[in-house]
Subunit: 339 residues, 2 copies
């Protein structure tokens, strides 16, 4: 057991290079600058998901642009020279904001007034955040991503608010990265279905598997009574991922994946095999994932993905992925008994 | 205005035959036998959706098989010789069952323990209903449909409970239609994505647009704050409908459509044009829909559907459908000014 831990730790400090020589991007998720050392210490090559809600929750006023800028800047500087994707405000759903005037009981908060929906109706709040992120981009590679995009119209409106924020900074002569990359999360089935249209108006996609799966299957992911129906190995999930990746490849838009599915080593080969350019996971999961990636070929993962995308039941999807994982990891246990 | 009403009423008593000679199936929705005269009086050719929840709600005990049988039989007899599709219990979501022991608060009831999920865990309740429906099938053409199917596994389990119900009736020598048709609702995006797999295990599909749209777009359809995001004219909705119909055609499975979209005359030509075999609507909507269908060609609706399925924004989808509707209905207003 200790040896396994050691093997993982050793891998975490090495690049995530597969046996066939592809170096894959494995990022960490954070909730604030204080978590950057955890990402770096576990071998993350950047931050694929910076959740900014903690700045907004359990306070009675929204943070100012300046307050946010200081925090984002600290995070960006801590991660240098690695990239950092900052997700704009994803309030609502299970992230409550009871202290705000905006709070209001909803029957189905997961399908409610959340994330980009909130931001597009409170553009003052949204623009404060966008200016803060833009200013932080003067201190390292920052990318912006919008949560809960469900249509081209929303993406265009978000981009327009971003353009206003840029213009305001230009007028102030404030420094920021004029070429900052902007991405759309794909976490609503409708967005997956119009990924070809969204691709025209953003620089990258980030698939949020937690929400995507729950909407695809109409299963609240925090409801215990139906937990068994929340299946990352449902063929509809695999087909949707495949479709998004295929469309993105066609439109030359790189795709990242975040969510619990990305942090589960059983599913990691599938995601890269389908065409993910990066995954972003909780820092503690980085070592095992890097260990796994360093012991497999990307080509094998691609063959696996092709096979799994043709399977029609959750059981065989899971078994096929597990078998691949076991085969790759087998070495570890061999090494252990040898040592 | 009165003339329009009269024109609609006149149509309601004539067959829903298009100008190119196709007689389309237009059914009515009911909540109990007392609503059958409304369907017939408005020219419905059958019942495409019999919602059985009213028998279960606001009581403190589930109805017995016998009680249900008497009610279903009355409905079937009232509709003779027209077909009737009975939907099995769709409790949960916004149809509350506070009086039952099964009731439990859920954070997101629309993505919760509802419909077939409830039935598959309470097979006693489910089987009572299935036996009652089966027995009613001895008195006229009855079909069964399951709500909220999200996977092949659920459909197979539901079919297995149905087979047990059949076997019990055989042992009792009770009469029922041995060839009763069994359908799966397609109202969860995941089901739409595996429609090819579901088609192997049922006789027909019924698309429930209300739920399908809300999950596709992650928009609670009864939440006013985001009502503007609930768009039947979202390209993801049109693409999903097209995909279901294409797969169903390939697998020779007829498709019905229910939900508010089916009752909106703006969308009716699209649905038939995409390949719907039937629609089922609130009885009051039947006359206008039949008027419309009798004044259009199915061929034109097919061309319209082909065109609309290639459009990429909600606005032009809506405008194109509206223009078609206005063109077809134009006659009505002409007739009126002439009269
Ligand atoms: Mg999310
Ligand atoms: Mg429904």
């Amino acid at each position: 057991r200790q040896n396994i831990q050691k093997a993982f730790e050793k891998s975490s400090l090495l690049p995530a290079t597969t046996l066939d020589g592809k170096t894959l991007k494995v990022y960490g998720n954070i909730g604030g600058p204080e978590e950057c050392p955890g990402v770096l210490g576990n071998g993350g090559a950047g931050v694929g998901l910076y959740r900014t809600e903690s700045l907004f929750i359990s306070r009675d006023k929204f943070p100012t642009e300046e307050e946010q800028f200081q925090v984002y800047r600290r995070a960006v500087e801590a991660m240098q020279p690695n990239p950092m994707i900052i997700r704009t405000l994803d309030l609502g759903g299970d992230k409550m904001v009871s202290s705000y005037q905006y709070a209001q009981e909803e029957e189905n908060p997961f399908m409610g007034f959340r994330a980009i929906r909130f931001c597009l109706e409170h553009t003052d709040v949204f623009k404060d955040q966008l200016r803060a992120i833009l200013r932080a981009s003067a201190f390292g590679e920052v990318q912006i991503m919008y949560p809960m995009i469900s249509s081209v119209e929303e993406l265009l409106r978000a981009n327009q608010v971003l353009e206003e924020a840029r213009e305001e900074l230009r007028n102030r002569h404030a420094a920021f990265d004029e070429n900052i990359k902007v991405g759309s999360m794909i976490e609503i089935p409708g967005a997956a279905l119009v990924a070809d249209l969204l691709a025209e108006h953003c620089d990258f996609f980030s698939i949020g598997t937690n929400d995507l799966i729950q909407y695809l299957l109409a299963v609240d992911r925090v409801n215990d009574r139906i937990a068994h129906l929340y299946q990352p190995n449902h063929p509809a999930v695999v087909r949707t991922l495949e479709r998004i990746m295929d469309v993105a490849r066609e439109h030359k838009v790189p795709v990242g994946v975040c969510g619990e599915m990305a942090a589960d080593p059983i599913y990691v080969p599938l995601l890269y095999g389908l065409g993910a350019e990066s995954i972003s996971v909780t820092p503690a999961s980085l070592p095992e994932i890097k260990y796994l990636l360093r012991r497999m070929k990307l080509k094998e993962a691609q063959a696996l993905a092709k096979k799994v995308a043709r399977l029609s039941d959750p059981e065989s999807i899971y078994m096929t992925l597990s078998a691949f994982y076991a085969k790759v990891m087998g070495d570890l246990f061999k090494e252990e008994s040898e040592s």
